[in-house]
Structures are given as structure tokens and as C-alpha cells.
Subunit: 143 residues, 2 copies
Amino acid sequence: MSDWVQRTSETLERAGYRASGPRRAVVEVLGRQRCVVTARDIADVLREEGRDVGLATIYRALDVLSRLGSVQRLDVGEGSALYEPAHANGEHHHHLVCDRCGDVSAFEDPQLERAIGRLAQRVDYQVAGHDVVLRGACPRCVA
Amino acid sequence: MSDWVQRTSETLERAGYRASGPRRAVVEVLGRQRCVVTARDIADVLREEGRDVGLATIYRALDVLSRLGSVQRLDVGEGSALYEPAHANGEHHHHLVCDRCGDVSAFEDPQLERAIGRLAQRVDYQVAGHDVVLRGACPRCVA
DNA sequence: CTGAGTGCAAACAGTTTGCATTACT
DNA sequence: AGTAATGCAAACTGTTTGCACTCAG
């Protein structure tokens, strides 16, 4: 079981949530993802594994998990919301979205993080998080 | 008439679109916005001015305008998509979104732009644009 | 045993689309 | 006159909600 699944289960328990089968299943699928997935993606994976979970349950689980800070939600405006496991150590990445095929991939950039960190101090909001999305053409679509 | 409205009208004409009243009205409302608005916001403003325009028409106009690069669309996942005039000179800003009240405000940061510029060269996508969203609590909600 | 959690289906909200009508060019 | 553009209403899509049932604690 991945670190994230472990920690997330503990977070849920500590917050007083019950360890139900369906929610656990959602957490496990999320734990195996390296990048973003939609609610439907999760449902599909679970169906293939023979442990069907209703979409409503998946949305409810994602809601709880993002509220607890264990998953990060991303909206790129192509229909459905994207979700990914959020890692506790502050380590996180951002996304490249292909305008043509909708493909999403990840990148990290410490320099960018630093610029955002400095910026966060300058503004009048109490900044809790941030998303950066670069849009353009993915290598496959360029070719 | 603002610069942006002027330039946008020309862009539309050059691209072969007709100068219809309803679309012109949408462009004018957009031209008066300093930051983001929803399709419904535009409809409301127009209704107040007594020049009702159907929502479908507004969506169609926004679609054309963003395809032409004259408006920038932003998805922050609070229901509806946000739109704002895109300025030709490359000058643009990013957004602070309040988690509690949904308020959206703008900021500019050349240092951040530079970091993104450098980054764009390093990745394997052909980067055409970017969005940065900082999330947190707005001054009013903090108090 | 009690209520959090679930699944289903119905309800919703934003957006898109088909089609008859209007109005630029 | 010809055709892009509009308005309306119906269709769609992703997400949320109400409710009876189930199961973890």
C-alpha cells in the first residue's frame, strides 16, 4: 500500500470518518494514479476490478478528500473536474494541457514555486494554495 | 469606445464575421469589465440596459471571441466559466480566488511571468498560454 | 443498535444545439 | 437575395441531492 493511501486512511479515521469499503476502494485507486483522473475514470477502474462503486459515492469521497487536503482538484474546463492525490510534504507539480487532444501532463519547477512563494507574501489575500496551467500543443499533436 | 472594443470589432470583421447588434453588445459589455465575468453576468448587464440578448447568443459570441484570442476563458470550478477581455500587447494578469466567498481579484507579477517564460522553453509542449490561480482567503473573509 | 455511508434515480446548473425567424451585407 | 446570426426551447453533461437500505463501530 502506498504511503499516500496509508496517510490518507489515517487522516480519514482521525477526522472521524468510517472505514467503508467503497471509500477505501476510491482511495486505493487514487493512490495508484501518478497524475490526474476524473470521477468517471475512477468508476471505470473500479468496475474493471469488479468492485463497482456508484458515481455519487465517488463524488462524495472526492469531496471529503479534497476538503481534508488529501486530494487536489483541478479544473481545466474540458468537461469534468480532474483530481489527483495531494502529497503532504508540500511537494507538488503543475500541469501542461494540450489544447488539441486534451492530454494532461505534469511538471515541477522549483523556480516557479519560489516566484509564487514571494508573490504570496505581497498580495492581500491569505494564500493557501495555487495552480499553474500551461496550455499549448503536446509533442504528439505538434508532429 | 475602449481600445479593446475597437480592436476586437476589427478582428471580427477581418475574420469575416458580421457586425450584428447582439454580438456587438456583448463585446461592449466585455470592454467595460476590468476583470472576469460569467455569461450570465453579461446577460444581466444587457438586460438592465434594455438590450436583452439570449444566453445562447452570448455563449456563441464568447466562443468566437476566445477562438480569435480576444477573450480569455478561466475555469476556477465554481459553477460557471469566467471570461475577460484579452489584451493584445501580451499584457495580462492572473487571479486570486477566495475559497470562502468566491471573490476573484487580479494581480500582475513580472517575476512570475519570467519564471514561466523560462519554464516554457524547457518543457516538451509548445506552450501558447498559461493561467495562474492563487487560492486562499480574501481580506474581507480573513476579518 | 445507531447513524455514517451507499446506490439509485431524480433533480440541477451550466452549456450546447436544432430550427424557424431576423437582419447584415 | 442570400446567408450569418439570433432566440427559444429542448437536449446534454457533469455533478449534487433525497431517500430507503446497508453495514461499520
